[in-house]
Symmetry: C2
């Protein structure tokens, strides 16, 4: 009789961080694609673009002028989603939108404040993460540290979300390599879910009498994946690792080439990284994004973000384990993406290739960027 | 001093069905758009396309031939995400992907089976929902009933997810109007979340001593929105309603023009709809999708889906209240969409215009389809 096989048969996997399931249908990768094909991203950009509102010295839409910056450059988002100050949302105003039901549990609303910043990765208009020197990537990590520390001093801010949208396919409206920071007066939904999972895992582990180092969900997961990789090639989801960091395709990945970068030791937030850890993180970032670009020989689009503790003093600050998520949409080629639509929106995320297949594909890529390879 | 205003200031709203928050930044709609612009969808299609694998009498990729159908047409998905039968997923196979950690809570996996079907809405290659006659839409609803009843007879199936991806922007690979059905051996994540919310709401309400009709989350929500609409124009989120159904922009909408269609009385699943309710649902579907098309004078893309009870006999079958979700991506024009990317993926969904602004925009549209309007 036929045996169950993860690369042939449908199954669901569980994400213990968000406590949700993903449907895997590996055989489905074989179906022909007749749907939308994206425009290939423009490959050759100038080092400096006089029309770019992120390049050094240029004017932005709102009239402000950028410094003639030489490494990273941080400025307030001119179209911030949240503002540092605004009037309070009182029950009388809530009644405006919920009429007679202002107090009902069906019409819950709260005012929210914060700060939004833009982080240019370097003055160069044409260099994405994998093309930057290691030192320049270290500088980006130090800039994240600096922003986090600075925002921690603002008593109204609870969470600092650092992220990058790369490529027009991911809603990025300017090709000059940059990330964003949205700092908010509440812990937003996704980190909130993760915190609850970290807490529940710790509560369960410590009630069993284990010590502290064994009670962190991600410390445990990273250790298990190192063991898996050593034990069996078919269970190896690790792409790259060094002393301090590992990049892997999580067992429960949703996007075709989704990855997670996690600290090997228990680090709560980016400010806690030592000089050596910063360098190790930069090295993993460079190699992972280089392998991404090499899969389809294109500038690989993604949304990437840091997950870490709410700012110091928050009662949940101790539970978190610093990590980063990469969610790239491409599936078959530089122009054919995965759509997470109908079934995925209404019912459950669905993926075609397995996490192990994606990991092995990523491991097979060269660590020399395709633009630098002699053809 | 300035007053808080829902159309000027940032706030978060709570979705009691999925128990998650959405960040609303209404002032942000003012920012200029320099990002990706989609191709406008082709407007003029033939009534019959000899190349279309969904048109009557044509051959599909796998060689099967469609009937010469005259109303709706249902056939098995040639590239199904799940199959009716496959080998069992044993712990020995789990160990293949999780190496030594097969039993750990960090590596949870289960086998999944089911059936996937395609539902052509009509033989006409060129007619979308708003362009079909009311009778033809009634026939689609009756087809959903028939499929649900048929699948209920399969003891391995627990949930029937009926949905439509419309437009290439939503990953639809064939413009011939059609929907899909994915029926699964487990209740998937999104309906599972909703069931938990229905249950919790009922438990809370009945412990307060109220009677049964007051203990359903959606019965209560629909009633509250009818009251809100009557009480105040600024709190009116209803687009269209009749005796049995209402279409509204939910208070907690994420997508710019997201809507929900809900039964006014407590109906568990689509098979329970009477002839009058079927007609009323068809009328609401026709008017809502017509208003959608009129916003930007284009065939409005969306993913749409039915949420209802798991199949009869399931212990949670009684809690659910039949409703449909529409998630359309367009924001500013026929070619500029909202991207739910970086911040939204890492932290929390974010929207620009408020639910009330979207509702008022939809109410302002004509109920005559733009293609039929004299210009
Ligand atoms: O089945 P289709 O139409 O080929 O595919 C489409 O709908 C599916 C169900 O929502 C998605 O998984 C696919 O990514 C999408 O392209
Ligand atoms: O701020 P940007 O780059 O203009 O906008 C982009 O990122 C934001 C944060 O993820 C999203 O809300 C927008 O939809 C997206 O287009």
């Amino acid at each position: 009789t036929e045996q169950f096989s993860f690369s042939d048969h449908s199954h669901r996997r569980f994400n213990p961080l968000t406590r949700s399931w993903v449907l895997c249908s590996p055989h489905r990768a074989k179906r022909p694609w007749l749907g939308q094909v994206e425009e290939a991203s423009v490959e050759k950009r100038p080092e400096y673009d006089p029309e770019c509102y992120l390049c050094p010295g240029n004017k932005r839409a709102t009239g402000a002028q950028n410094d003639n910056y030489a490494s990273t450059y941080v400025f307030p988002n001119d179209y911030a989603a949240v503002h540092a100050e605004q009037p309070d949302c009182l029950s009388s105003t809530i009644a405006q939108v919920a009429a007679g039901n202002a107090s009902s549990e069906l019409f819950q609303v709260e005012s929210t404040c914060g700060q939004c910043k833009v982080v240019c990765f370097s003055p160069r208009h044409d260099l994405t993460l994998p093309e930057l020197e290691l030192d320049a990537i270290c500088e980006i990590v130090r800039t994240w540290q600096h922003i986090y520390t600075q925002l921690s001093a603002d008593p109204t801010i609870q969470y600092v979300q650092i992220f990058e949208n790369k490529g027009s396919m991911m809603g990025c409206s300017n090709p000059h390599p940059h990330g964003q920071v949205w700092a908010l007066s509440e812990v937003p939904s996704e980190p909130r879910k993760e915190i609850e999972s970290f807490k529940a895992f710790k509560a369960k582990s410590t009630s069993g009498g284990s010590d502290d180092t064994h009670s962190c969900l991600l410390c445990n997961y990273v250790k298990a994946e190192e063991e898996n990789a050593a034990a069996s090639e078919t269970a190896n989801r690790i792409i790259v690792q060094n002393n301090s960091f590992v990049a892997l395709v999580p067992f429960w990945a949703v996007w075709p080439f989704e990855t997670m970068i996690a600290a090997k030791s228990h680090v709560e937030d980016v400010t806690k990284l030592s000089a050596e850890q910063i360098r190790d993180l930069a090295a993993v970032l460079k190699e992972l994004t280089c392998r991404y670009d090499n899969i389809f020989q294109c500038s690989f689009p993604y949304s990437m973000g840091l997950h870490q503790s709410p700012i110091a003093g928050h009662s949940d600050a101790d539970y978190c384990h610093f990590h980063m998520h990469f969610y790239p949409p491409l599936l078959r080629s530089a122009t054919v993406r995965k759509f997470l639509v109908g079934f995925e929106m209404m019912a459950e995320p669905q993926r075609d290739l397995t996490a192990e297949q994606a990991a092995s594909r990523l491991r097979a890529q060269s660590t020399t960027h395709y633009k630098k390879q002699k053809l």
